[in-house]
């Protein structure tokens, strides 16, 4: 039987980090023991009207304590329900799911945009090479101090209220950052920008993608992205984000 079994997990803490952004620790030793940076967990509503999973990336893993941390933004009724939950309550969770990042490279650029920032934290902790961390926000920032222990942090905000005014690529350019590997997670337009940048600079890039999911385990074919080559499993130019992904090398996928 799989370790990714769906189970009730006790919430070990759930606090608001910034407006509508929450940080939840789950007491889930089996998830923690298997989890890798870049993988995700499916969370389930307790309301029978909302049946599908909410995929949330793993932000931190505490193997000692058997806990994983999820940082999420209220985007609709499901995440709103989670935000209202308190420590000691249970939540149904399945994971760890997906492939996770490949730990590689000597000088890395970790790029997170918006709610794509959280998975970069555990990656930053586990990646042992030199790290430059670029975090892009619309306006209000969160989590950025927690990154400081792991590398130099560069910030971009769309409104210019902090760091570079603009997006993550603007921050990279402004700071003339160089690297031999890129790890990125964020909205698709940002990932497109990162892919273009990586191609231009000829840097290898691992991108974490997002798509609506139903099963979360590779069975429904709901969450595919377009791949450059015919995929081994699907036998067509589609890859399942929940199974082959969510992390892909930039040249593997079309965005």
């Amino acid at each position: 039987m799989s370790v990714a079994m769906k189970r009730k997990a006790i919430i070990a803490g759930n606090v608001e980090l910034a407006q509508d952004v929450y940080s939840m620790w789950l007491d889930a030793p089996d998830i923690a023991s298997e989890a890798k940076p870049g993988q995700f967990v499916s969370l389930y509503s307790r309301d029978g009207s909302k049946l599908l999973p909410r995929p949330i990336s793993i932000c931190e893993i505490d193997k000692q304590q058997g806990k994983v941390r999820l940082v999420y933004r209220i985007a609709g009724n499901g995440t709103r329900e989670f935000a209202g939950m308190a420590a000691t309550e249970w939540i149904e969770a399945m994971g760890p799911l997906g492939n996770g990042f490949n730990l590689e490279g000597r000088k890395a650029l970790l790029i997170g945009g918006g709610i794509g920032i959280p998975p970069m934290l555990e990656l930053a902790k586990q990646l042992i090479c030199e790290k430059q961390i670029v975090l892009g926000y619309r306006d209000i920032t969160f989590l950025e101090e927690e990154f400081e222990a792991y590398g130099k942090v560069f910030i971009s905000t769309e409104d210019g209220s902090k760091g570079t005014k603009g997006n993550v690529i603007d921050a990279i350019n402004e700071n003339q950052l160089e690297a031999d590997i890129i790890f990125a997670c964020g909205p698709t337009p940002m990932l497109r920008g990162v892919k273009a940048f990586a191609t231009e600079k000829n840097i290898k890039a691992q991108l974490s993608l997002e798509e609506r999911m139903a099963c979360g385990i590779g069975a429904c074919l709901g969450c595919v992205c377009k791949s450059k080559e015919i995929d081994h499993h699907s036998n067509v130019k589609n890859k399942r984000i929940c199974k082959e992904g969510p992390v892909f090398y930039s040249e593997e996928v079309e965005l």
Partner: protein, 300 residues
Amino acid sequence: MNTSVTLAGITFKNPVTTASGTFGSGMEYSEYVNLSQLGAVTTKGVSNVPWSGNPTPRVAEVYGGMLNAIGLQNPGVDMFIKRDIPFLRKYDTKIIVNVVGKTTEEYCDVVERLADQDVDMLEINISCPNVKEGGIAFGQDPKCVEEITSELKKRAKQPIIMKLSPNVTDIGEMAKAAQAGGADALSLINTLTGMKIDIHRRAFLLANKTGGLSGPAVKPVAVRMVYQVAQAVKLPIIGMGGIATAEDALEFIMAGASMVAVGTANFINPGVTAEVVEGIEAYMKQYGVNDIKDLIGCVK
């Protein structure tokens, strides 16, 4: 206690299978359920060549269910034969292969290529609402249903199950047409065509605009249709649509289904199929039912 059922000469250890497209080819779920516990595994629709399906988003959550517009992405029958049949044959369960096509010829092609394969039954999907050609177009006109059924029946070596669409005025009429064409069994329901709009983006949620509604929300319609078809024809029925518990499965059985398929519920609880099998047994024990056949169609 006997939970086995026989449809068109094939005996299943229990009446529980999976709804096509919700269980892949069993591979992914084999980590969650011992497939040998199931009466059968019904696989994702397979076509003569690989299909890449529809653009994303392909799925959307709706109240008590979901919409999907996968568009029958599948690796094609060759890959299916090479990879998926041998995988499933490792388990002590029957194999029902769901077949799709854009034209009668394409359906025939798949059926012919499966003729010598070690699979137990073929389920012909003439009811997919998510592809432009084929699919539902065949399933909404009794003449087409009869014709394609008899064409396939000529070629198939395995018994054939015609899978009916609920998007019709009178499903009893479609059932009769399939019977007239020589179908060995029927399965119902496929999904109800639905739509969701994102009012903030003012756009359809699915790239395909419409999608198929499945999950608990459709169960009352599905149970009614199973009952209606059971009154209209003599063929055995595989009932599905919103089954998430043994209680749900028993509703279908009592309405006239000889077997049941669990679909969308797999996405919410990957271990659900085994729970349904066990729950049916528990019910039979509780009420002293010795043979599941005594429950089939017992509510009239």
